[in-house]
């Protein structure tokens, strides 16, 4: 186990990168604390797998350094970094039994047989795969195969970090939940640093203590799931996390304050900075129907079970609201109220209000 430091990391897949657009990773500076459960969240192509492969040593970064507990490992190959990685598709050794699969990383490192047997038994118990230890691994179902590839990562007790690269992609939906809670449980038991890469916010938010949100090769925000939900630092985070995502409304900044479609908006606190394109961000959960407020017309109502998502048009802007209880019909005129302490101003995408008193 180790603390992992990424320092001034940049990577480009091109031999001679010119502008920042040639970089898959732009300037990453990040500390992963020892024993933390991290999720790396972002849309496809944002550079999260690139970052993962750089940490594991499968890819050498164009610039920057990677430190494990302060020791520079930038030029070390994967097997010397003592890390484990679980891939998108279960990687198992078909001709071996489950037991041999689990023992493989230890055997390759010349660990004593007695110690191997002990570790394999321990891991098998943790993963609840004891009864299939002597089956050929090729005969397993995909979720069990993925369990075995996780087991191969966890079997070494001295791994610095275990990385998961969208490990639930090929797993049936009803088993995803099971495997996800298993992972969480494993983290609590082994206390290894774990990094979980995904584009699925549910996976990220349930697994991780800290979520790192990436976009276009940059880290946009690092925070606990609650922080990401309640106070997105960037409209991208607000939009990407939450279902439906945050309302991002084009706004005007004037003498008297901020207006959306000509209606004044009360914000959470003091506005910082000036200039740039102003937008007001508020989560649909904090928009409610009221007697007064922004006048709009209901365009669409979707019932998503416990509550309904209402979409109303205010001028040319559409606003979503999550409503409990009875909902107005389509075409009806409504008034929308924003909860002030959850209403923020964004300037060129980045947050531009301070938390109110």
């Amino acid at each position: 186990m180790a603390k992992i430091t990424l320092s001034n990391l940049r990577h480009s897949y091109m031999p001679n990168p010119k502008g920042p657009e040639d970089f898959a990773l732009k300037e990453i500076d990040l500390d992963w604390q020892d024993g933390g459960a991290y999720a790396l969240l972002g849309p496809s192509g944002c550079g999260k797998s690139t970052l993962l492969n750089i940490i594991s040593g499968l890819l050498a970064p164009s610039e920057g350094r990677i430190l494990f507990d302060g020791k520079d490992v930038t030029n070390l190959p994967p097997d010397q970094r003592n890390i484990a990685q679980v891939f998108q598709f279960p990687v198992i050794y078909d001709t071996m039994t489950v037991r041999e699969n689990l023992a493989f990383p230890l055997r390759n490192r010349g660990v004593a047989e007695a110690k191997i047997a002990e570790r394999v038994a321990e891991i098998a118990a943790m993963l609840e795969v004891e009864e299939m230890l002597d089956t050929r691994a090729s005969h397993l179902s995909p979720d069990n195969k993925q369990k075995i590839s996780m087991g191969r990562g966890l079997v070494r007790d001295d791994v610095n970090v275990v990385m998961f690269d969208e490990p639930l992609t090929v797993i049936d939906p009803h088993l995803k939940w099971k495997l996800r809670s298993k992972l969480k449980e494993l983290h609590q038991r082994v206390r290894a640093t774990m990094i979980y890469v995904t584009h699925d916010q549910t996976e990220a938010l349930t697994f991780a203590d800290q979520v790192v949100v990436m976009q276009d090769g940059e880290i946009v925000q690092i925070g606990t799931p609650v922080e990401l939900f309640e106070r997105p630092q960037h409209t991208f985070v607000g939009h990407f996390i939450g279902s439906p995502g945050m309302n991002v409304l084009p706004a005007d900044e004037g003498q008297g304050g901020v207006t959306v479609e000509g209606h004044p908006i009360t914000l959470e606190g003091k506005i910082t900075g000036s200039g740039g394109a102003a937008q007001v961000g508020i989560r649909p959960e904090f928009v409610s129907l009221a007697k007064t407020g922004l006048p709009g017309r209901v365009r669409k109502v979707s019932d998503i079970g416990r509550h309904s998502v209402l979409e109303a048009k205010v001028g040319d802007t559409s606003i979503k609201a999550v409503i409990d209880g009875p909902v107005p019909a389509q075409g009806e005129a409504v008034h929308l109220a924003f909860r002030a302490d959850q209403t923020r101003l964004y300037r060129d995408g980045w947050i531009a209000t301070e938390v109110g008193a």
């Binding site: 594991s56 994967p78 097997d79 890390i83 078909d94 493989f104 990383p105 390759n108």
Partner: protein, 287 residues
């Protein structure tokens, strides 16, 4: 409810007819010849299984069968490992991929009798490139028309040259279909190059190798054209493989009965070995 009727036959029938006329009818003619004796004028005498017994007991057939198995064994033991090694060392991407693939495919595109003729000229002691080099430059006596060992070396080398590419191309196709994650996982697990081959590449190649070995077995077991053009079965009978012997009996001596019996035995052996091999190789997966 599933409807059951005989409609399927209607669709299968054309294929059945085709197979009947290009396989079953000719084979039945051979069966017909194999149990009868004829002295011409379409007069036949019933012989029963005499021809089969005669062929199976004859030293000539047994010797040819032995040579045939030896030949097939030799080329398989060389071509399969060699093909895998070449496939492993071929580049996975970039400019050299098409160059390698086309170069590999070239020998297979040459007509079989041309291959025989090429190697014949190539090995002529006085004017052939290889023959001259061996005899006159290196001073190693090498004349496949005189020396049985030289003849064997030549036909085996010729087949390796001609057909290793098949194993290479099939193995290469198998290798490139292995996802990168397997190699990455092996790297992280600390596996050596040998273990990567033994536990990742070889298992993933199993299916294509089964096909490759099966094809090479059948083709080499039935080989006729190249050795016929190259050595004509000589010197003496040293390279007379089954098919060459069969043609000698059928068209040289015009012994149609024994030749028919021999070709049925020949066919049965090819079929049996192929079936055994395939069954053994696929047994694991069926479980």
């Amino acid at each position: 409810m599933k409807t059951e009727n005989q409609k399927a036959w209607f669709f299968v029938l054309p294929v059945l007819l085709l197979v009947a006329f290009n396989a079953l009818v000719p084979i039945m003619t051979v069966v017909n010849y194999s149990v009868q004796e004829t002295f011409g004028n379409n007069v036949f005498f019933w012989q029963g299984l005499d021809w089969f017994e005669q062929i199976l007991r004859s030293d000539r057939f047994q010797a040819a069968l032995g040579r045939q198995f030896l030949f097939t064994f030799l080329i398989l033991i060389i071509e399969v490992p060699l093909g895998i090694i070449i496939a492993l060392s071929m580049p996975r991407n970039g400019f050299w991929v098409p160059v390698c693939l086309v170069t590999m495919a070239l020998p297979m595109l040459i007509p079989w009798n041309v291959v025989g003729a090429m190697w014949n000229i190539f090995t002529l002691p006085d004017i052939g490139l290889l023959g001259y080099l061996m005899n006159h430059t290196l001073g190693i006596p090498y004349d496949m028309t005189q020396n049985p060992f030289a003849a064997w070396v030549t036909i085996v080398t010729m087949d390796v040259w001609h057909w290793t590419s098949l194993v290479v191309l099939l193995s290469y196709a198998g290798l490139v279909s292995i996802p990168d994650a397997y190699y990455q996982a092996a790297k992280i697990d600390g596996a050596s190059a040998w273990k990567v081959f033994r536990f990742i590449q070889l298992p993933k190649l199993k299916t294509v190798l089964t096909i490759a070995i099966l094809l090479r077995f059948m083709d080499s077991f039935n080989i006729y054209t190249e050795p016929f053009v190259l050595t004509g079965g000589g010197p003496g009978n040293s390279t007379t493989l089954l098919s060459i012997d069969l043609v000698k009996i059928a068209l040289g001596q015009f012994d149609l009965g024994p030749a028919a019996a021999m070709s049925l035995i020949y066919f049965a052996i090819t079929l049996l070995v192929s079936w055994l091999f395939y069954t053994l190789m696929t047994k694991d997966d069926a479980q």
